[in-house]
Amino acid sequence: MAFTQRHLLGLEGMSAEAITAILDTAASFKEISERDIKKVPTLRGKTVINLFYESSTRTRTSFEIAAKRLSADTINLSASASSVSKGETLADTARNLEAMRPDALVVRHPLSGACALVARHVTCPIVNAGDGCHEHPTQALLDCLTIREHRGQIAGLTVAVVGDLLHSRVGRSNVHALRALGATVRLVGPPTLLPPEFATMGCDVHTRLEDGVRDADVIMMLRIQRERLGGIFFPSLDEYSHYYCLTEDAVRLARPDVVILHPGPLNRGLEIASSVADGPYSLIMNQVTNGLAVRMAILYMLVARSKAAQLADAPALPAAEPVRGRSGGRA
């Protein structure tokens, strides 16, 4: 049950016990959002700042509602409407925010390792809400919670993660979490977006969608980041769609009780057919609901403790090396 981390920067190296503790806590928080009065006083008097250097609707809203349901005060900062547009560095912004004594900073940034950098400059807990191509830990945790809810456990399942693995922080965080929890992970995508090095993460690598999803228990689709990739990593969106779009025919190759996940936003008809996204095996809306519970759990576990205890904790996970590939990859 032990969870003594000061920050949540990523899931790489996190133990199955710690991940399970987060998932169990999140499961118990779901009930709060079903109440008439959707609020508990746990983080009353605490301040959570959402510092977002990239656009986001789902994740930012989810973190804000999570903090508010725990009675924390929330402030949302976006790069375009802050001193960043006047040239302030990330470290300076972080130090200035810390001077206002927040109790947690939730950070999203287009560069891998940005959250670890912020964590070196402040003492309050940092939650990584997505940094470049590196990690998006709360997304992977909500994916794990969603899978666990439907299958009872994650150990022993075969999970196919399909799409642009190269740029996907969602994919990376999921590989760490799913492998720690005992799943077999298959990575599926075109060779340009799935270099053979990914096999060193302990995953099976497939370049044909049909091979990757055959007999899978879970298919997790990743978003194709149209704005960055068109024409560089594959000849055309149509060609990508032809080979990798998850259609009902492809779903039929998986186990009959397969479930489908997608972190959103959906590119309907590009990586996932509408009939699949809206199909009976789709858990996409459950993911959003669970995302709220996971973020409540993370804020609770990181913030609802004494400052002394936070500072005395084991240091945060070491900052990961910037991931190969270009910056700016998004979930």
Binding site: M1, A2, F3, T4, A21, D24, T25, A27, S28, F29, E31, I32, R35, D36, I37, K39, V40, P41, T42, L70, A297, Y300, M301, A304, R305, S306, K307, A309, A312
Partner: protein, 183 residues
């Protein structure tokens, strides 16, 4: 009845004594409320849950009717000492599977001490709705209240010093029924 072991652990209630106390509390609940209509139990995690279950079964044996509704409350998120702890306590969740509006509620916990747990439980319950009233049943009242809170039903009043620890062990979780004082 009291047995002291060399380690400074003194047993103050054994299994049969706990059973008698809970059956008496069940009788008192029926006597005070006259009817089980609209009555429901809420147990405070973790041992209050098992005590509530036992009192509820005892009530059914006395009354012969159906088991009254039963819920579980986790007060962790309502504690006033969260930011004093070294590690955040694990939250196991609240389950109240009935409407609280107008309900006559009996809150059950194992030990009444400072009263802070009961304060948290009352806040938690009221976030779910407005019961007609809330009564409090505890297996042990050990004194040293820090808030103006008292129990309606007490299994045993146990004078203690502040430094002592009172531990309730129940067969459901600990494999044995007993109340011990550790000095």
């Amino acid at each position: 009845m009291e047995v002291t072991t060399p380690s400074g652990v003194r047993q103050v209630l054994d299994g049969p004594a706990i059973h008698r106390a809970l059956v008496r509390i069940a009788h008192e609940i029926l006597e005070r409320n006259k009817t089980l209509e609209n009555l429901a139990f809420v147990g405070v995690r973790s041992r209050g849950v098992h005590l509530a279950q036992r009192i509820r079964r005892a009530l059914q044996e006395i009354d012969g009717g159906a088991l009254v509704p039963f819920g579980v409350i986790d007060i962790t998120l309502y504690r006033d000492d969260l930011d004093r702890g070294v590690q955040t306590p694990f939250v196991k969740g609240t389950e109240i599977p009935f409407a609280l509006e107008g309900r006559r509620l009996v809150l059950v916990d194992d030990v009444l001490f400072t009263g802070r747990t009961v304060r948290a439980a009352l806040d938690a319950i009221i976030d779910f709705g407005r019961p007609e009233f809330i009564q409090l049943a505890v297996l042990v009242d050990r004194g040293h209240r820090e808030l103006p809170i008292r129990a309606d039903y007490v299994g045993k009043n146990l004078p203690t010093s502040r430094a002592e620890r009172v531990n309730v062990h129940l067969a459901e979780v600990d494999g044995v029924d007993e109340v011990v004082i550790e000095t």
